[in-house]
């Protein structure tokens, strides 16, 4: 029997993996991937929140109005969050490409002219 809290812990672990990537990786793209991983960990967490034993997808079907549904709100939230994640990722990738053009490298430890 899997403990009911295990999926949540796994989510948090996944989040940590993402943060670890941001923290320790040098390549810009890997850092972006780290952000994406962490983003999806949070999304997963939100989806898990609305899970209910025996719950169905929260879509009304003709003739089955009274079934047990999972909470629809986090799903809506996740959708929004995905959109935001998409925009952020696209922005980061665009900036990373331009950075490569300017600095000639994807290595974040060599992109550090701003300091002090």
């Amino acid at each position: 029997m899997i403990h009911s809290w295990l999926p949540y812990v796994l989510c948090i672990l996944l989040f940590c993996v993402g943060v670890y990537a941001v923290l320790s990786k040098k390549n810009l793209i890997r850092i972006i991937l780290g952000i994406v991983i962490a983003d999806y960990a949070v999304n997963l967490f939100l989806i898990l929140l609305c899970w209910k034993k025996g719950g169905e997808a929260p879509i009304l079907q003709p003739g089955a109005m009274e079934q047990v549904m999972v909470d629809p709100l986090p799903q809506a939230l996740v959708l929004t969050s995905i959109v935001i994640g998409l925009a952020t990722t696209a922005f980061l990738v665009a900036i990373a490409m331009r950075l490569h053009e300017r600095y000639g490298t994807y290595d974040i430890t060599r992109i550090r002219e701003l300091r002090g």
Binding site: V19, V22, L23, S24, I31, I108, T109, I111, R112, E113, L114, R115, G116
Partner: protein, 565 residues
């Protein structure tokens, strides 16, 4: 703090002493403006210069008459800004640095004053009363006995602002710098007269009206005053620049006023206030004379001056009078007020043995002041003309225009009047209505008769001299070791090196050395320390994204630990 309150007269109180101070401020304003008409001629931004001068006067009057502490703090702070703007009219390369230093010290202590204001507000009204108490925080209604750490802190914080404005230690370092860099009328106007008036007047008000001091705080003030007197006068002795030397004396003399207020007895405080007025007179006179010298000689470097007495007799005369006055030589006004301060110090003898130290310091200070003015007068007015002076004297006939001469002369005359007739004019006419019941000019000293005696003595000496030496004097050109000095300008004794042997005395030498390296300058030390800290922190911001993210995570963990704990 509603609008009606802000402009009603409840915020002001018109005590007779305040009227007197205001009259002095007005007098100096007029003199400085007359002086500036010539001195500042041809400079840029004159409209702004006179605007700031007028504003300074208005705000000064506001501070003098302010009864509400908050109003006073506001006007006071704005005066610091005007000081900064006025210094900006200087033309030396170090002017910006000096302006920054002055406003930082003055403004920094204003910030301390703000904390002091908050403490006073708290002491009077306690927690939970909101802002309304601020509008009622006035000198005339509020009295706080100094007891316990808070009230002491409040007093010291307010006093620090007063000390900085007046230029007493440890907030004095902007005054000599400013004397060197700012235009002379500004120096004569602010640190020499108005700022002194404000600072000492405010110190007196908080010591007398707002707080009830105990003897410990009095001793702290007296110690501060004594240190200021001695340290500043020692620094003054070894200066090479006329204006800077005068600047150190402007610091040194504040010591007497602080000392006088610290005595806490009526005669000492009275002497301090009298000294404050006297100081503004002779110090402005000295600065304005220095300005006249600068105007005609284009320098105030002692090494390049000399023998000006012949060229500028009126300036010399005024300078001489003011020098004797600042050195506390009877019968001039400086002596009159110092005499009262000495008596005030002796009056504290009941509080322990420390009065001997303060008295020694005060008297020594006067002697050293005289010594350093001997150096100054020798180097500037007497002695042998430097090649620089000779050159200027040959090419053009340096004179003193009326606009420069008039204020100097007026002030010199005031020096004499306030000294010779100390018991009549300042006390008889000005102070006794003001002080209402406070002691009139005290002691076994009648300044007028003393003057007559001194004059008689001088006359007698002159007669003896003339009788004894008539017809026997032989005039020769100055020489050293048989060499004719006029032919060898390099052997001229400029007076710069007077007293430079002071530095060879072991413990003093170390102190002078430290002073030169600015170890005693709160401004420099503070900035150095901040820079050191900043260096470490700045090194941490090394541009590595990973490190920044790590800080954030550390922050999350720290917040977590703080909130579960």
């Amino acid at each position: 703090m509603s609008l009606e309150n802000l402009f009603s007269l409840d915020l002001f109180s018109f005590s007779p002493l305040a009227w007197l101070a205001a009259a002095f401020a007005g007098l100096f304003f007029i003199l400085v403006v007359i002086y500036s008409l010539n001195f500042m001629k041809g400079r840029k931004g004159l409209f702004r210069y006179y605007l700031y001068t007028v504003l300074t006067l208005v705000l000064t009057l506001g501070v003098i008459f302010a009864d509400n502490l908050l109003l006073l703090v506001i006007l006071w702070g704005f005066l610091g800004l005007l000081l900064y703007l006025l210094i900006g009219f200087g033309r030396t390369p170090s002017t910006p640095a000096t302006a920054r230093k002055a406003l930082l010290i003055v403004g920094g202590t204003d910030a301390m004053m703000l904390l002091g204001l908050a403490l006073v507000w708290f002491l009077v009204y306690g927690p939970g009363t909101g802002l309304s108490g601020l509008a009622k925080l006035s000198f005339s209604t509020v009295t706080i006995p100094v007891a316990g750490g808070l009230s002491v802190a409040a007093f010291l914080l307010l006093a620090s602002a007063a000390l900085a404005k007046a230029g007493a230690m440890p907030f004095h370092t902007w005054v000599p710098d400013m004397a060197e860099d700012a235009p002379i009328p500004v120096t004569a106007y602010l640190p020499a007269s108005l700022d002194k008036l404000l600072g000492v007047f405010f110190l007196a008000r908080i010591s007398l009206e707002l707080f009830i001091l105990d003897s410990t705080l009095g001793i702290v003030l007296m110690a501060l005053g004594s240190i200021t007197i001695m340290a500043a006068v020692m620094m003054a002795m070894v200066q090479h620049d006329m204006k800077r030397l005068l600047g150190y004396h402007a610091v040194s003399q504040v010591g007497y006023m602080v000392l006088g207020i610290g005595t806490g007895n009526p005669i000492g405080i009275c002497g301090a206030l009298f000294h404050m007025f006297n100081h503004t007179i002779y110090k402005s006179c000295l600065f304005m004379a220095a300005g006249a010298v600068e105007k005609s000689m284009n320098t105030t470097d002692l090494h390049r001056l000399g023998g000006l007495a012949k060229l500028m007799p009126l300036v010399f005369g005024a300078f001489f009078v003011a020098s004797l006055s600042i050195s506390g030589v009877p019968p001039f006004n400086g002596f009159a007020s110092k005499w009262m301060i000495y008596q005030g110090i002796i009056g504290t003898a009941g509080n322990g043995w420390t009065w001997i130290i303060w008295l020694t310091a005060a008297m020594m200070g006067s002697a050293l002041t005289l010594a350093s003015f001997m150096k100054l007068i020798h180097a500037v007015f007497l002695g042998q003309a430097s090649p620089h002076v000779t050159k200027i004297a040959e090419s053009s006939r340096p004179g003193t225009p009326f606009a420069l001469a008039a204020p100097i002369a007026v002030l010199a005359v005031l020096c004499i009047l306030f000294g010779v007739f100390a018991d009549r004019i300042p006390f008889g006419e000005l102070f006794s209505p003001v002080l209402a019941g406070e002691p009139v000019f005290p002691g076994l000293w009648s300044s007028t008769s003393a003057t007559i005696l001194i004059l008689a003595g001088l006359f007698l000496g002159m007669v003896v001299y003339l009788l004894g030496s008539a017809g026997k004097t032989r005039s020769v050109a100055p020489f050293i070791g048989g060499e004719d000095l006029d032919a060898r300008p390099s052997m001229r004794v400029s007076g710069v090196d007077f007293y430079s042997t002071v530095k060879d005395v072991k413990p003093l030498g170390v102190l002078f050395d430290w002073a030169e390296r600015k170890h005693f300058d709160c401004y420099v030390v503070g900035l150095r320390f901040a820079d050191f800290l900043g260096g470490i922190l700045s090194g941490l911001h090394n541009g590595l994204l990973g490190r920044y993210v790590l800080w954030c995570l550390a922050g999350v963990v720290a917040l977590y630990l703080a909130l579960i704990g």
